[in-house]
Symmetry: C2
Subunit: 321 residues, 2 copies
Amino acid sequence: MTTTDQAGIAALPMPDLSRTFPGPFPTSPHAEDIQAHLGQWLDRFPLLSRPEARHILCDIVAHGVARTFPTAEADGLFLCADLFLWLTAFDDTYGEAAAAGSPARLARRIQGCVHLLGGGEVPGDAGAFDEALHDLLVRLRTRATAAQYLRITGCLRDALFGILWEAHQLADPGHVSMQDYRMMRPHTVLVRTLIAATEVVLRYELPEEARRSRAVQQLEAAVADLAGVLNDLGSYARESAKGVPDSLNLISLLTRDQHCDIPTAYAAASRLGEEHATTARRGIHALAAGDSAVLAQHARALESIACSYVWHIGHARYKAV
Amino acid sequence: MTTTDQAGIAALPMPDLSRTFPGPFPTSPHAEDIQAHLGQWLDRFPLLSRPEARHILCDIVAHGVARTFPTAEADGLFLCADLFLWLTAFDDTYGEAAAAGSPARLARRIQGCVHLLGGGEVPGDAGAFDEALHDLLVRLRTRATAAQYLRITGCLRDALFGILWEAHQLADPGHVSMQDYRMMRPHTVLVRTLIAATEVVLRYELPEEARRSRAVQQLEAAVADLAGVLNDLGSYARESAKGVPDSLNLISLLTRDQHCDIPTAYAAASRLGEEHATTARRGIHALAAGDSAVLAQHARALESIACSYVWHIGHARYKAV
Ligand SMILES: [Mg+2]
Ligand SMILES: [Mg+2]
Ligand SMILES: [Mg+2]
Ligand SMILES: [Mg+2]
């Protein structure tokens, strides 16, 4: 493990991924175009009012998506970046601490999104988040097959439910078991949505039988678990520095369940991250070495997704205190 | 309009559907087999403990599904009946009044279902509702195409979100606008799930372009709205007789928004139901008279769905006071 030294959290161990996902990670030549596009999209749909929040979010989303899909063409990158900007802005605006005070209000906010996801029309009094979601769904439907569209909109529902679930449990995390937390984490860290978006961005379609295979399921689960642990390690430092955690976090749950201090929990979480990274790397090798071209493509896509999560916790968003 | 005379609610006007959906409605020769199957399924997955609740729910689901799909073969009927039994039992057990006291607990309960709907494995400590849902999803996946499976699991997510949304708003319905209510109602009355299940039960597949056509969308919306109004008219009498409404209801919202008494609101809701029925009937005629065989089949399926909702509010479940 390596150590980090962020404000308020002294020298905590981060996972050592130098053999599994060593970096530097390839990035798309369209990175700057993505960022410019995001700025224009936010001019059309003003999801964020604070200029600083807007700048930092556009930056992490543009460069994150550029690392997730280094070989994709611009239109797919723009669509995926807008989707992630929307989800993150929604969570930052309506989720976490803002929602914990009134989950009923958050449920009403999400209801408008559920209506659109179910194929409903934009209501007369729609706000920027509804208009932007409608724009995303129209573009997604144009680019995706029926099954791909339904798979992504299923993940979006799960991500929105995850935000609501988190808002509820934040006030009283004592009821959340470690198993529950690990079940929900892939949704709240948005990695399931990213995995579902991959085929649409890179324009391939996994046969259903391959998708249901143990090899693919286990690899996707390892990448999803890795993403959650990494985000938790990054978020904990950021949120602890602010004083109160804004979200449920693996570190706090580990200190509770193992009656240990924060550095010990950090070390345990880092080891868990290393284990997920090893499983993911092994799964990528196995799929990429097989004789199915589409499975090899899926393996490379999952590798890039893992890399983008390794990359993202080094971003300034996770240093913003 | 006709009038009804149920305990506690004197002579309230019900919609006159004698020209749009006159009945008697055709029913499947498998009705008794469905009811026997439901009993066996509940022996495997004990979702309901009270024998009386079990009997009345099996009866309404079996005979409702038999009227929804009078021409379907047994396996499709069994699957759809199990699905509706599961949803209704889940709502009766965890939703409505039980949930209003602790939406956070309901969110944790739903989280296990979201995990399974997203393709997760059954956890070690799974209860009867999780085991039963897993059984449903396995059978659904076997029978449905990938897109059909994803469409139904999307509707199931919306139905579960609807239960959670309702639990939140029940304590303080003043924040629920009529527009919000009408957006959510197709999900809470489960009619969207039933529409999505139709193609799987009857084994046809609507081409995407037809599904997105204005004719199909408007007909589905009219049937969905009719289902909601009918259920509200039936439920209001039942719940008022119990003293406290267990769910949000069009009648209460109308008395609030139009500052009117209950008979006036009932009359307005009944007229609304008649209007939806007229729109639905017109849409069914138009699709059935066209030259597309699959659209004509879809029109007949939607007709049967409308009939099953007309039929269901006369069932003993809506007289149980
Ligand atoms: Mg969050
Ligand atoms: Mg976080
Ligand atoms: Mg209900
Ligand atoms: Mg009702």
